[in-house]
Amino acid sequence: MFEFLLNPIYQMWIVQGLLLTVEITLFGVLLGLGLGTLLAIADIYGNRPIKVAIAVYVEFFRGSPLFVQLFLAVYTVPAILNIQIDHLFLAFLVFGLNSAAYQKGYMKGSMETILDDQMQAGLSVGMSKIQTLRHVILPQAYRIVIPSWTNEFCSLTKSTATLAFVGFRDLVGAGRSILINNMQIIPVWLVIAAIYLAWISGFSKLMDIIYEKKKIPGIELLMQ
């Protein structure tokens, strides 16, 4: 049943597919974290036009499926601009931009639980607004946001399965390639499913451990 796992070419496809899935997810959640933080700060302190622009950005990326966004990025954008752009680059970008729209919300929520009191405290000891954000607010906000960030990681990883349908050989793409020559449909998808499950559960477990280790003592009281 699972003999296909012994074929070196299939093994290579699966490993390369997993690597692509892992790379694009990690890139996506990290770009999303950076951009999401900037968007959250801009949304808290920005003026009205900035807030509206951010709301439109977030509504677009959260309101439509990543699947459609991927097609827009890979086919529509190059067609409108009439230039050739590397598909992989565009795919990386769209995962990052999509994740930023979600993470902006998580970061904003996380910062708002601690913002008011601690900003005043920071200003009163003579730090500037930016210094307080950088040295007081953000280090705590990042620790509070870990569970939401882990959820975002899980859902982004699952979304990367769409890559197989715009011509990449990610983990699902590897499964599809194997099935061209091999009719073991159930075993192939079971193996692919197990690899996703192991990678997502393993990484979430790691993040849970980091969260517990880095948790701000007594933060539960603040979150209520």
């Binding site: 509504e59 677009f60 959260r62 309101g63 439509s64 499926p65 990543l66 699947f67 459609v68 966004q69 097609f71 827009l72 086919y75 529509t76 067609a79 409108i80 899980c154 990883t157 699952k158 979304s159 990367t160 399965a161 769409t162 197989a164 349908f165 699902v172 499964g175 449909i185 159930i186 998808w189 079971l190 692919i192 499913a193 996703y196 499950l197 997502i200 559960s201 979430s204």
Partner: protein
Amino acid sequence: MDVWQELIILLEGVPLTLSISIVSFLIGIVVGLPFAFIRVYEKEIGFVVDAYEKIFRGIPEIVLLLLFYFGLGPYFPSTFGNAFFTAAFVLGLRSGANQSQIYRGAIRGVGDEQMIAGMSIGLSKWRAIWHIMIPQVFTFSTSGLGSEYALLIKDSAYVYVIGGLAELMKRAIELKYSAADVVTPFVISALLYILLTFPIAFWLDRWGNRRKKKIGL
């Protein structure tokens, strides 16, 4: 083919997108609600719910759709061989895992006092849950359920991978080939998805907040 013809073709996919999402949402309620109460009140078998949630958190919907439709479909032609059944089954069970977490939060929000009050006037545990907890749990979950509904609308695009159902995403991708147009179908379908997700999530949240105020929560 002009833009209007493409728009009409895409619009004709909206009812199917909506029905996939709504049926999945209902399956999600049927699975999620009991699971949430089991997780909170029957701690000994709570690990089953945990495992269920972990599995659906860790396996992409696309892989499950491919596994059930192409893998099990040939053996169970009347159930998994049916594209709509498989779509609603996979997305519904996945939604059940999410909804279980949403209701669990709501149960904690409603609070234990109400359960105790119900049981002290002679209701059994499950009758107290049915008559006292569940009505309030829904009020408490509106904002979570709004985003879960939006998530299902977006997830319904994954159903494209099994073919056979001409929902919005499938129609957009087919137009890419039949109309040789890569701009209009994807721009319009993105806007349609936004139109489908935005109002419901927004109104559910507003309605929930008003209702919570009204009953003094």
